[in-house]
């Protein structure tokens, strides 16, 4: 069981980054459908820099920068030029997928040098798993590699940022009711740009985890739809960073459970295909129920998807 759960954490880590990335976009009021594109840009950029420099920090930085660059195009188009968010996001996905594939062609088959991969071996404090009762929990979460620990850090920092700092408060205002935020003197444009870029950087990290640790090599379409799952899960986890982590964990687990179930030969055909449908079905249900009940704790940010202009008469 424990190895399975450990693997669930690993499987869910790219999702964690992607969900948080999507979350920052949506908290700023932008429905960004380009998550998949930004993840792929980060994945390929990270991998390239890893090969070139063998330096993990540079690789991660590259992933973040390229994810953010993709986001920058999106931000410029939707915030300054006021284009349709859905169409722009799709364009970003097409572009990001295409560019990463193009770039990655020459990287196919390349293996990451040992000196690099060494940095991402699991790191743990040995006595933790020996502690009674909590031992197993620690070993699931705390015998992971540094990248995973980075994801924990970002989840916790996001929680603090959103709910305990004035920047987070202002951000939430921008997404909920942009006019009110503007009237309070908040620089709406700046907040949108910054957080869309942060979101892009995080998606880039999610992609990089796949190419640098999880697989680890470059493949076409290495993200295989995780970007879309992330968009679904942001909604399913109600735009909360902590729930995002658990959502990623849950669906990371579901992703790998498929294979295990096949080997178990269960009488019921708990098909992995139906399992894969779950995040999407769950999201649809959340949206429907939310729309019917108009329950506010699970509503999207009020101004999600709407462009904002301060009207001149």
């Amino acid at each position: 069981m424990i190895p399975f759960l450990k693997n669930a954490v690993i499987s869910g880590t790219p999702l964690t980054f992607a969900i948080l990335g999507a979350m920052y976009n949506e908290k700023a009021g932008n429905l960004n459908l380009g998550i998949e594109g930004m993840m792929l840009l980060g994945a390929v950029a990270g991998f390239q820099v890893a090969i070139l420099t063998e330096n993990p920090i540079l690789a991660l930085l590259a992933a973040m920068i390229f994810g953010a660059l993709g986001a920058l195009i999106y931000a410029f188009l939707t915030v300054t030029l006021r284009t349709n968010q859905s169409v722009t996001g799709l364009a970003l996905t097409i572009f990001g997928t295409g560019l990463s594939r193009f770039w990655g062609k020459r990287l196919m088959g390349t293996v990451l040098p040992e000196s690099f991969s060494r940095n991402f071996r699991p790191v743990s404090l040995p006595f933790l798993s020996k502690i009674p009762v909590l031992g197993p929990v620690f070993s699931v979460f705390l015998e992971q590699d540094l990248f995973v620990y980075l994801s924990y850090l970002i989840v916790i920092l996001s929680g603090i940022y959103l709910y305990y700092t004035r920047f987070g408060l202002n951000l939430r205002a921008v997404g909920e009711n942009t006019a009110a935020a503007d009237a309070s003197g908040i620089n709406v444009t700046l907040y949108k740009y910054v957080h869309i870029l942060i979101g892009g950087a995080l998606c880039g990290l999610g992609g990089a985890y796949l190419s640098l640790v999880y697989v680890p090599s470059w493949q076409d379409n290495i993200t295989s739809g995780r970007g879309w799952i992330a968009i679904a899960l942001v909604i399913f986890t109600s735009w909360s960073p902590y729930r995002a982590f658990w959502g990623a964990f849950l669906f990371g687990g579901l992703d790998i459970v498929g294979f295990r179930i096949q080997t178990l030969n269960l009488p019921i055909s708990l098909n992995q295909h139906f399992l894969r449908m779950l995040p999407y079905i769950a999201t649809i249900l959340v949206i429907i129920v939310g729309a019917i009940r108009k329950s506010t704790s699970h509503m999207p940010p009020g101004n999600l998807g709407n462009p904002y202009f301060r009207e001149e008469r």
């Binding site: 700092t165 004035r166 202002n170 009711n177 503007d182 009237a183 003197g185 620089n187």
Partner: protein
């Protein structure tokens, strides 16, 4: 001598052809509550929006605390100590009161609850306000929400407060509480500007009052040296003879009978409150009132576009409450409402005149296809009759000037030969010639036996064009009178909340 906190000199602001403010002079002292009074379109909101950083004046100067400033954004206004409390609250529903107060505030990075809440509480105590800071806005009453808006502004250290129609959604007790708070604030040295159309409120809480009319300053008076009558006179101006020549036609059968109509608006406050009136064939019933008194909702409830909470609407004897808009249209009720932006409802901006003519007729055509020929003929007919200036009937109507757009809408409605014609602000922004054109058309319809509900802003026009006039104030009917037996002043008083009976008892404001 009290310091002058705000001084606006010779302010001019124009939007396209509309001169919203013309050489307005306005000042507010430390510690005073200054009322800003005027009819719709008098320029009050525009003026204060220049203080709050939303608009910039075309010419003129603004002095804050004696220094000339150029206020270019809401943030700048806040920095100057100007705090605006809007009519439509700019609050974030899902956040708590404390969070809303802290929004956009530039202090430390972390908003740890205890110290921040303590500092907000200090401010509350200082000014005598009480709010549960941890309550979410969506769970609050209207009065509480308004208090949060005020608190927000005070927490930033604003010494100049602007309140835009603050009492519109409050109960009488809440209004008293608000005024107590305002008086406290004034005593601590704040300068307060309050925009309102309610004369009794002006009299009870302000120190001075400035009356605006048609974008110009009419007069600034000390409140204790004036009275409601004088203010009304200043607000509506002297009667003007427009020579519209009301025609007398035989009043026909009862067409529309509205009984006890009540409808709810924002915050579940009644936007129409027990409205009762009758309208006959062949008569023009005018409706006067300050903006937001329920005129829009009155039109929409009759047309089936707004939900009715209580009451009945009888059209030719049939109760049409609950009918779909299409059914109501079929019965011969035609509504044309010209909103401030003209293109809100009734017309599709990107379509041309022909397609806009189709909007109500297409459903009656046989088959699944749309035949544009009759619509084309209609467009040509209406265009000629109303002298609509357009490059062609194939031009998208959003390219037409405002006045012409209105003509298209009204023209379409009149051409449909309705039994009941409801028209709201049909001459808004039109020049004299076009306006008279419209009045003639309406008179023509009246002679044909159409019953007309005319909602208008110009009191002179109402008196000369309509047979009877109904006045709405905050959703209530304050009076229905024959147009020949009332003056502009009388209408102004009723618009401000006085009832017809109390006017008749009091001074002579009716023509003898």
């Amino acid at each position: 001598m009290n310091k002058t906190y705000v001084e606006m000199k010779n302010i001019c602001k124009t939007f396209g052809v509309i001169r919203a403010n013309r050489n307005v002079n306005f000042s507010v002292y430390e510690g005073e509550i200054h009322g800003l009074l005027g009819e719709n379109g008098a320029g009050k909101s525009t003026l204060v929006n220049m203080l709050s950083g939303i608009y910039t004046p075309d010419s003129g100067s603004i002095f804050i605390h004696g220094e000339q400033v150029n206020i270019h954004s809401p943030k700048h206004a806040i920095e100057l100590g100007i705090g605006m409390i809007h009519q439509h609250f700019k609050l974030i529903d899902v956040l708590t009161a404390a969070e809303n107060v802290l929004l956009g505030h530039s202090q430390s990075v972390f908003i740890s609850n205890k110290s921040r809440i303590k500092s907000i509480q200090n401010v509350m105590e200082k000014y005598g306000m009480e709010i549960d800071l941890n309550k979410r806005i969506m769970d609050m009453s209207v009065s509480e929400k308004q208090t949060v808006e005020i608190l927000k502004v005070l927490y930033r250290g604003s010494k100049i407060l602007i309140l835009d129609e603050p009492t519109a959604v409050l109960t009488p007790q809440e209004i008293d509480k608000l005024f107590t708070v305002l008086k406290n604030l004034a005593e601590t040295g704040c300068a307060i500007i309050i925009i309102t159309h309610k004369l009794n409120e002006i009299m009870s809480v302000t120190d001075r009052v400035t009356v605006l009319r048609q974008g110009e300053t009419v007069s600034t008076l000390e409140t204790r040296k004036t009275n409601i009558r004088e203010l009304t006179e200043l607000m509506v101006g002297k009667p003007v003879n427009l020579s519209i020549e009301r025609i007398h036609s035989r009043k026909g059968d009862l067409l529309l009978s509205v009984k006890g109509l009540t409808a709810l608006g924002e915050h579940n406050v009644p936007v129409l409150d027990n409205v009762t009136f009758d309208l006959y064939e062949g008569e023009i019933l005018g409706v006067a009132g300050v903006a937001g008194s329920g005129q829009k909702e009155l039109c929409e409830t009759i047309a089936g576009l707004y939900p009715v909470e209580k009451g009945d609407i009888y059209f030719k004897g049939e109760n049409i409450v609950g009918f779909s808009p299409r059914e109501i249209i079929k019965r011969g009720v035609s509504m044309s409402f010209i909103p401030e932006d003209r293109l809100g409802m009734g017309l599709v901006p990107s379509m041309n005149m022909i397609d806009n003519m189709l909007l109500k007729d297409y459903v009656n055509q046989p088959g699944i296809t749309v035949n544009r020929k009759p619509a084309k003929e209609k467009a040509e007919r209406v265009s000629k009759r109303l002298e609509i200036q357009a490059p062609s009937i194939y031009t998208a109507i959003r390219k037409l000037s405002g006045g012409n757009i209105q003509k298209v809408l009204l023209g379409r409605e009149i051409d449909a030969n309705p039994h009941l014609l409801i028209t709201a602000y049909p001459v808004r922004g039109l020049d004299i010639g076009a306006s008279y054109n419209i009045y003639d058309l309406l008179k023509e319809q009246k002679q044909k036996g159409v019953g007309i509900l005319y909602i208008g802003e110009d009191l002179d026009v109402l008196i000369e064009l309509c047979d009877r006039i109904m006045v709405l104030c905050d959703g209530k009917v304050t009076g229905i009178t024959g147009s020949e037996s009332i003056t502009k002043e009388g209408l102004g008083l009723m618009m401000a909340g006085e009832t017809l009976s109390s006017i008749k008892k009091g001074d002579v404001v009716c023509k003898s």
